[in-house]
Symmetry: C2
Subunit: 137 residues, 2 copies
């Protein structure tokens, strides 16, 4: 049986690409990998890629020279989590304060990890999670 190594890409759908680009590139300092009128892609720690799509802009199948990318789209306040180290948690909370991003809540998990939740400009629920959340993390 072949295996799945990791979640390589996760996608959020946004109403204003410029506003979201600023949030992820400046507030969270994610390096930009790709940007066009339809989407942005950000590197996450050299391990994963966060995709932002303009809502309604990727509903159709998209032909490329190498093949067709199937259409997709999304509504609602989605959820995703970033892995951070426990040592970085205070610096992240300070960073969010500096950028005037309200912390929506904090959760301490039975295994010892901590999650900090906040919202992006579209109301997506973002989480910074330290190890000790899952049996595998």
């Amino acid at each position: 049986m072949p295996t799945l190594h990791s979640v390589l890409e996760t996608a959020l759908y946004v109403d204003d690409l410029g506003r979201s680009r600023a949030f992820y590139a400046e507030d969270l300092e994610l390096p930009l990998l790709l940007e066009n009128q339809r989407m942005c892609a950000f590197d996450v720690g050299g391990q994963s890629v966060l995709l932002l799509f303009l809502r309604g802009g990727s509903t159709q199948d998209m032909p490329t020279p190498g093949g067709t990318i199937p259409g997709h789209d999304g509504y609602g306040p989605l959820h995703m989590a970033f892995a951070i180290s426990a040592e970085d948690l205070p610096a992240w909370e300070q960073r969010l304060r500096e950028r005037r991003i309200p912390i929506a809540s904090r959760v301490t998990w039975p295994r010892g990890g901590t999650s900090v939740y906040f919202h992006d400009p579209d109301g997506h629920v973002l989480e910074l999670a330290t190890p000790g959340l899952w049996a595998t993390y």
Copy 2:
């Protein structure tokens, strides 16, 4: 500046948890980490976690002993990608055939990677991607 290490969790919203659980646990053989009436969580390669939420079941803030998890929800055919090794690509295509999961399309990327796209039972657009897709992968 503190860093983000990776995408730890990505979430999909589904209409029938049992149907989706079968798809991800049996067809894709992802190990189940957690299951309740509201959600399932699957380990992905010991690196990431795929969360499935019953659509409409997580809209409210959820108190837990360690703090409150903010509400979220999602509609539409979302997109996410799993990392696979290039050597596993033929075995994955065979696996999809055996499980009668139609391949929606294949894309070959300028950097040499390949993506295979297919749909989950809710129409979410899943991708298996080999290295050579992004500058960082």
